[in-house]
């Protein structure tokens, strides 16, 4: 499938995910998929149809699903637990902590429908706290791909890695950013998607596409922004963050997540300790969100490219 994804093309992450997961189960009989009765939303139905023997329906019961995954992993299987980001990280949080992360069991956790753009389902189904929750758990790896190419590479990594991994996914179509031939996902490594000297936009997941657009808008106004994409939120590339701060002296962190606890917080923690630099966080401003169309949500919750341009100018005015 990655060969079919071209830069600039539109593709939906969940379709890519379903196909890639089917491929993993076909290569490895020990990889099993656990569904919390959302297979036709998360697209694990592709596995249910293509490899039924390795698809285990766990019903609408996330706590048990996570515990079952721990048991499966303990006897040598590799469970991929798939449901919405909001449910997996909150309904099953104690199970993730005690049954999976503390014993460092080989469970892959997929938070589909992360962020705000969840198909008009509103605040109960949107996932804007998942990064904050998951990155606070010892032994947890937290990843957020920008596009389908990167997602496939991430899933390959997760398949090879022995331990808990959380991957946050988006629902809808978006533009492909990375070339499958040249892009290489690496755990703990950030990636400068664009280099510019005036400031750096640090971003992750699907917000990277919007950050690239923000950088383009800034360029029209004579401002050169770097865009540092962070597919690996934990472990996080501290070196790249400090380098960006040192070289550009102003930071905007943008994410489709609450500004509390997410990538913005993680960057602030690092800069606060290692290289204090003027910075601004773009994200949901610690408020309850709602249902609505994608463009309306991005606009109302101030995470559009235009919002990022405004914040970039604000942080530039504080640049020392």
């Amino acid at each position: 499938m990655s060969q079919l994804l071209q830069v600039g093309e539109k593709a939906s992450m969940r379709d890519v995910f379903g196909e890639a997961l089917l491929n993993i189960t076909k290569k490895d009989t020990k990889a099993v998929v656990l569904d919390g009765d959302l297979a036709n939303s998360t697209k694990t139905d592709i596995v249910a149809k293509g490899n039924a023997a390795q698809f285990l329906q766990m019903g609408i019961a996330e706590q048990n699903m996570m515990g079952v995954a721990a048991g499966l992993a303990s006897v040598g299987l590799q469970p991929w637990v798939c449901t919405f980001a909001s449910f997996i990280t909150k309904r099953a949080l104690d199970q993730i902590t005690v049954s999976v992360a503390q014993p460092k069991l080989n469970v892959k956790m997929i938070g589909a429908y992360s962020g705000l753009l969840t198909g008009c389902t509103g605040k109960t189904h949107q996932g804007v706290e998942d990064v904050a929750i998951m990155r606070s758990i010892p032994n947890m790896v937290v990843l957020a791909p920008a596009d389908g190419v990167e997602l496939i590479q991430m899933m390959e990594f997760a398949h090879q890695y022995d331990g808990p991994v959380y991957i946050r996914l988006a629902r809808d179509e978006q533009q492909q950013i990375f070339d499958a031939e040249t892009h290489r996902f690496e755990l703990g490594k950030g990636l400068f998607v664009k280099e510019g000297g005036d400031l750096t936009i640090i971003t992750t997941g699907t917000q990277t596409e919007r950050s690239v657009e923000a950088a383009r808008l800034l360029e029209e106004q004579g401002i050169n922004a770097s865009v540092l994409h962070m597919p690996s939120i934990k472990p996080l590339d501290q070196e790249a963050i400090v380098k960006a701060a040192r070289e550009t002296g102003a930071i905007v962190v943008a994410e489709e997540h609450n500004i509390i606890g997410g990538l913005g917080s993680a960057v602030a923690e690092i800069l606060g300790e290692q290289y204090p630099t003027p910075m601004i966080r773009v994200g949901v401003q610690d408020r309850n969100t709602e249902s609505g169309k994608n463009e309306e949500l991005l606009k109302k919750y101030n995470i559009t490219p235009a919002d990022m341009v405004e914040k970039a100018k604000e942080v530039l005015s504080r640049k020392r």
């Binding site: 285990l56 019961a61 048991g71 303990s74 299987l77 199970q95 902590t97 005690v98």
Partner: protein
Amino acid sequence: MSAQLDFAEIKQLKQKAAEARRLVVETVHHAGAGHIGGPLSAIDMLVSLYFDVMNINPSDSKWEDRDRFVLSKGHSAIALYTVLAKRGYFPIEELSTFDEINSRLQAHPDMNLLPGLDMSSGSLGQGISAAVGMALGAKQLGKAFYTYCMIGDGESQEGQVWEAADIAVKYKLDNLIVLMDFNQLQQFGWDGTDGRERERPVTSPAERFKAFGWHTISANGHDFQQIIDACNEAKEVKGKPTMIIAETIKGKGVSFMENQYLWHSKIPTAEELKIASQELMAGV
């Protein structure tokens, strides 16, 4: 694993259980922390599993075809530790490190620290799901091992237990055998009726699990023959998991602890330890 245990076999199991109980009381006294009533109600079942029922090899604790055991009521860890130590998984002397900093014997079981632990547990309701996963995993891998699990009756107030109960039946997990330590007391519980000081809610666990589609067996959780018979019966059941409702006495074996909810996690004094040890060893 004869169907009918002879007098000598029963006597041996009794002896081991009495020693394990004495070690529980001694260890909790020494540590100045830990649970005591629940471990004492669970001991006879643990001794039955580790010395008779389960197919295990203490010198190869990671053997992949071994039977599995999950202590879902993880706060009874000290009971499991004493039985594992007696079975040869680690030195009995190490029990004295229970609950101490840097110890492999954590307050609740940590599978990555101590040999013989098949799963970590501690937060209630989770172990039974892991046991369901192990049994499902055995089916998925085409392996013949059995998975045993012990839950508490108090623990079964957790909704996760019933989520697990549902899925175990859906996947026809006849390789899963769960024992409920039905001691009818919990840490605090409810005001008692009919002369009881404290009590559990009225739940009728056997009827409930039966309604969920489980094979259920009621047994005296302090009678070795009954426990072992129940496990043997469970192994013969096809197409569904088995729940053994084992009626037990919280604090079993020590007169002043029996059926006293306050002994859920009270620390015995030196004098109480002495009396408890005498009572426990007098029984064998």
